[in-house]
């Protein structure tokens, strides 16, 4: 019973960690993609 409780706790923390990690990396990726769009405009204007 004790081990099974620890397994549920570990799964909960692992899921939260992975979800936050995916949110962080997707946000960074999106930010870099949109930054490239702005750089494109700057190159065009130059």
């Amino acid at each position: 019973m004790f081990t099974s409780h620890i397994a549920f706790v570990s799964l909960a923390y692992l899921f939260a960690f992975l979800a936050i990690l995916i949110l962080f990396f997707s946000s960074r990726l999106l930010s870099q993609k949109n930054l490239k769009l702005i750089e494109k405009i700057k190159e065009k204007n130059d």
């Binding site: 019973m1 004790f2 099974s4 409780h5 620890i6 549920f8 706790v9 799964l11 909960a12 923390y13 899921f15 939260a16 979800a19 936050i20 995916i22 949110l23 962080f24 997707s26 946000s27 960074r28 999106l30 930010s31 993609k33 949109n34 930054l35 769009l37 702005i38 494109k40 405009i41």
Partner: protein
């Protein structure tokens, strides 16, 4: 005539100024998140007592409850921003709502999944269609709906207005979530922390809970600073391409 106070307010709602502030504060938010997360996890895993009934499973609370608070807080702030955007037509309010919606959706998902993982050993089931769980599940779909609606229009101005109306309609669900445990008989427990008299939780459990909430708040601010900057750049690009056509 603009006095100094109003001048400062005008500067803060200027997208360029806000961009500079978020860029400068971003590393501080990241640092504060990491430090508070380490302290919070240390308290939550090693330095808080097991519950006399639930045993070690109670430690799920330190992720589940702050995620639920964040999900509700983010949606409420999104609704306020949408209302401000609709009344004053200010770009920053619309960009705020659009940038924070995915963060709120992730916190809602964390709340639902960790709640399910807590429910199995405690209630004997992964899921029940009671008022609290169902209204939280609906919140996830409202977040997803808002994200889809805000991305569905070529004209960003039209998209902003319609998604803001959608956010305001969805706000009806927030008091339903909050008071669902008081109005209906639910398997989910009633409010423990936000009670008018005093919280019915031991201080040894309340401290890690609050530290984890602060940590999630800094995480929100950090990811918001990334997404706000990203959304602002996208708006600049869309405005440029529309004006050059």
């Amino acid at each position: 005539m603009i006095n100094r106070g109003n001048e400062l307010k005008l500067q803060l709602v200027n997208p360029g100024t806000l961009e500079r502030y978020t860029k400068a504060l971003s590393p501080w938010f990241c640092g504060a998140f990491v430090i508070s997360l380490i302290i919070g996890l240390w308290f939550a895993i090693f330095n808080s007592p097991p519950d006399y009934l639930q045993g070690e499973t109670v430690r799920i609370m330190y992720v589940h409850v702050p995620s639920a608070w964040m999900a509700l807080f983010i949606y409420s702030s999104m609704s306020v921003a949408s209302l401000i955007g609709l009344i004053y037509g200010h770009l920053v309010a619309f960009i705020y709502a659009k940038s924070v919606a995915p963060i709120g959706a992730v916190f809602t998902l964390i709340c639902l999944v960790t709640g399910s993982l807590w429910g199995k050993p405690m209630w004997g089931t992964w899921w029940v269609w009671d008022a609290r769980l169902t209204s939280m599940f609906i919140l996830l779909f409202i977040y997803i709906g808002f994200i889809i609606v805000s991305k569905s229009f070529n004209d960003p101005v039209k998209g902003d207005k319609i998604s803001s109306i959608f956010a305001l309609i969805g706000f009806i669900n927030i008091p339903i979530i909050k008071f669902s445990v008081d109005i209906w008989t639910t398997l989910h427990q009633p409010a423990t922390i936000s009670k008018l008299d005093s919280p019915s939780i031991h201080i040894d459990m309340l401290i890690p809970l609050l530290i984890m909430f602060v940590s999630f708040l800094f995480l929100f601010l950090y990811i918001f600073s990334i997404r706000f900057f990203s959304e602002l750049n996208l708006r600049r690009y869309v405005t440029y391409t529309l004006s050059s056509k």
